[in-house]
Symmetry: D2
């Protein structure tokens, strides 16, 4: 059965696998000190225009979020997220498990508003009982968001400005970074990201790798961050596994090229649904599309294609998520077109 | 200067202090195994009609909340609270510090709705990604709430019913329990509380004691709860300090009598403000009153009386909290009347 | 029955209780911002010759240890303790509960050796896998120790020197500080302590108070330590309760005077046991004495006096701990003399 | 340069990589619900003779230890380990990070003694202050140990017996499980392991995989263990990555065959060193060998072969660890022979 359920239900991009194959017989240093990790880091520094960046490879998104957030925050600090942020819902309380409160602000199609962030911080610093509250230490946003939407350059700049006013770190979760940057609506690139936050990660798992996220500190990583990674169970003994994959992904622009392909497939899919009269739950310019499907049609579709049942829209319709990826083919879309 | 800032800005009720005095020269067992703690527990069991209840004395509210919640939850579980719940705001992230997420539901004048709790749980159990979410394990409500409001017997029964349907513990934070029960609007007593939740605490700090909260498990405490208390830094070496105080508070109905006094003072204070044309932010039937005060009047009042600056009401007015307690006198109200 | 079980089985010293009594009817600021807390802090600063010291009052020893240690360490750091240190055994894993490893070094009658600390740190910094280990961030010692022994001025100086060489905080747990300083063998005072560590606490619970420990940062407290206290459930709403007690204890040298009394009683008790031919488990110059008692004699004694069963000495004898305090009387010793 | 530094400095065994290659183009369910994970689990159940076993795939050793230990312990419980246990030293305090104390018992060439475990537990249950101590909830042993030694069937049986007497879980860390079982000295197999503990894991990272450890609960996993995995950041989105590798490793006895090869290489290496007159730090029957090397010879060797500098033996000699693996070749040994 074809699947539009998510962007991590395939193996690796062939070039990624190829690089694992061609390097397999070589011995290497462990824990990420291998030559391919070094090479991948250098390539990422270049594309980010961040020659001093410190880079670490972790294996998955939740792990990365909990390790980065706990690693950068003091233990009395909290992280601010949009209410729909991944760390606030779908990570089983992993951030709280490390001891930190997630303070949620309203989400607007998945996005935080710089104005509301500023209002919150102004309330916070002026409240009589400020010292009785968890101290905000970081702002967490996702690019693109859990709803496929993206921040404009201006929106990110404004959020970062508020962060700097209040001494907050800005962390951008880029589990689907490529799909955001290659969106037709995007006005930013990795250079912009690297110069407008304190830490971000470039997601590999959802963009062509078997596993792996590249955490980038454009300036400086927290002291003993390597130990923090180990302490969180996030240190790969064979660090090369992730280094090799990112080395392939950042060779010849592969990461962004395959992201672009996913966007092209998503645009075609949007047109396909629109033509048949489906409405969208919101306007997503990336690879996740949220389609309003009548309940009986949804049951029929389930027999032929996999997708995510997001949430009820009303008594008669359901919001269904259809996701493209680097691996989506025109053939997949053709079948989807025939059955929707 | 007179103060209506809170209900814990006095020393102890004279009878409480008297009991400390008259027992001072006796040696005792430590860690709560003294005779007065035993006596206090027995008196609380009686008034709660809970002969099997297990009772522990802790020193303060945040400490009690974090210890009870962490002690009853499995480490993968979260606690559900109204958005304005004390644990969700004014406890510096103490619950998250113990590793648990606080899931917030809407607050209605400080109260959780049984219907919204039920809706949330129904969504939770039916969601595709349920196992990726923090598992709700407990519901936390305050009686009275942070806004001075109280649940009716029916409302608590309904919440407890939802809890039992979904295997959730119900925990009632009674930091101001006496002031809730003695409210003119209350239709419950300690017997009702003890038979409609899994654990609750009777606040001493705000109702006549120097410190101390009595945690009551009407049926059974979690295994090794004594060790859990120690592990949370909440075990008093001289447990007698709290036991003696509760022994006094639960002799001759002192706890409820002094609570009743605070309510009488609060009712007089309400009339006093109402007569002068002040409006209230909400209708509170307990000892905390939230009065809307013009900004310039507020600045004037600050010179003569202490109160809490709660939050801005609009551009020209502020919500100010005035609190009575067991120690409030008619003289205090007379002065308040003259200056407002 | 008379009791030599511990030094916290009495009420408060009469002058402490008297101060609670005479201040009881006054209203005050909360959370430790009351006048008596201010006064007590000033008196402690004076006696410590530490005019810039930041002081916080917490309610008990385990709570103080976990809050200070967690508050001063980065989350990837561990604390080094003698194997017999209180935090390593009798605190139910409270330090680990806050996420930090306790690294144990050998104990010599309860004391850590500066040499062994230095050796450990030299091993640590030279080990190939240093970054895979919890990073030592603090050294924890007790004065006096759990075995009643005390460090000399030279020993503390040497330990502090190693700490400074390796960037470690030194924390001195003074749950029984008075009994250490007033020991006939002691060559230090509070001024010495305050200038030879980064943080220490002066125990009140075991030296005349109902509860309370005074945490002293001779130079600077960690940022937002007030919030950290709240987050650990250790903030007293009626902070005055502890402030008033320390205000009394540090008036007219009361704290040290009553400590001296306990030492005098301990010296008499030692002679009493020695005269009757008992041997000691170790040579303690403070208020805790560890007496080797034949098993059958121990069973006989239990009928007439309370003490602690420390540990088996050999098949026929047991180590029994007898403790004096500020409240021990000559009459108590007379009875003890008759029955031993 | 040839390397005997560790057993995870190679890529994957060719058959493991081959299986990744041949499955790469197929779509699958995520989070470990793919067909290859199912197949691998079934094969492991068969070889363990544990048809009801619940199996989870995690990515690395420290992660597995912290997740299993935290997942099985109540929050007031501690884990008992030999002093040299991996969780007690080389995991950066990851277990303590999850809130649990590691109680250490003496290590005898890396092994815990059933007798000493029994003695400890008998002391624990009889101690007067038992409820003030972290409650032991689990025993952790490694097979083989960090020193390459292995427990006999009788030794494991005895430890497991003590565990059952005291209600402790037994957890066997099998990061190098294959190298233990295939040791010439081993008298156990996976069936024995599966019937003599409550949980264990079969290490893949060090035995032919790129990453991955198979956690086996022979009877029942803790409730919501999937959520616990997610909460610890240990859930792989593309769970297939590990499932496919274990599917290969447990096809046609590959896992044990390649382990056997490593043992054969280790035996040859031992003879090689012995012939040249080197002494061993201890007698290891598995793939890790601890050789006593004169300091000047060590410096010479470093130029031509990689190994681990374990610890100083005495002023003139160093303990050096040489490790074989599934990937070690006769050619490697030939070179080693020439230079030692």
């Amino acid at each position: 059965m074809i699947s539009f359920e998510c962007d991590y239900n395939n193996g690796a991009h062939p070039k990624v696998l190829q690089h694992l194959l061609e390097t397999n017989s070589k011995q290497s240093l462990t824990y990420g000190f291998d030559e391919w990790s070094d090479s991948a880091k250098e390539k990422i520094r270049n594309v980010c225009n961040a020659p001093e960046a410190e880079i670490y490879f972790l294996s998955g998104g939740t792990q990365t979020n909990m390790t980065v957030i706990d690693g950068m925050l003091q233990s009395y600090e909290a992280v601010i997220s949009a209410k729909t942020g991944h760390i606030n819902i779908h990570e089983a309380g992993a951030v709280e498990f490390t001891g930190h409160k997630v303070i949620d602000l309203p989400a607007h199609d998945g996005k935080m508003s710089a104005k509301e962030l500023s209002d919150y911080m102004n309330w916070f610093v002026n409240d009589e009982s400020t010292e009785h509250l968890a101290q905000p230490g970081m702002v967490y946003i996702t690019y693109p968001t859990e709803y496929g939407t993206i921040y404009s350059a201006e929106e990110i700049s404004n959020i970062y400005k508020v962060c700097k006013e209040h001494g907050l770190h800005l962390f951008i979760d880029g589990a689907r970074m490529g799909y955001g940057i290659m969106s037709l609506k995007s006005d930013i690139d990795l250079k912009f990201i690297a110069s407008h936050c304190d830490v971000f990660y470039i997601g590999g798992t959802k963009v062509g790798a078997l596993c792996g996220e590249a955490v980038v500190f454009p300036n400086k990583a927290p002291k003993h961050f390597f130990t923090t990674i180990k302490q969180h169970g996030a240190l790969m003994a064979k660090g090369r596994l992730i280094g090799i994959q990112f080395d392939a992904l950042f060779t010849d622009n592969l990461y962004l090229d395959i992201s672009k392909h996913a966007i092209e497939m998503a645009e075609k899919m949007k047109q396909l649904f629109a033509k048949k009269g489906y409405k969208f739950f919101l306007d997503s310019p990336t690879n996740q599309q949220f389609v309003i499907v009548p309940n009986d049609k949804m049951i029929e579709l389930e027999q032929q294609v996999m997708f995510t049942h997001w949430e009820p829209y009303d008594a008669k319709n359901f919001v269904c998520r259809f996701v493209t990826s680097w691996a989506t083919t025109d053939e997949d879309l053709k079948i989807l077109s025939e059955i929707t």
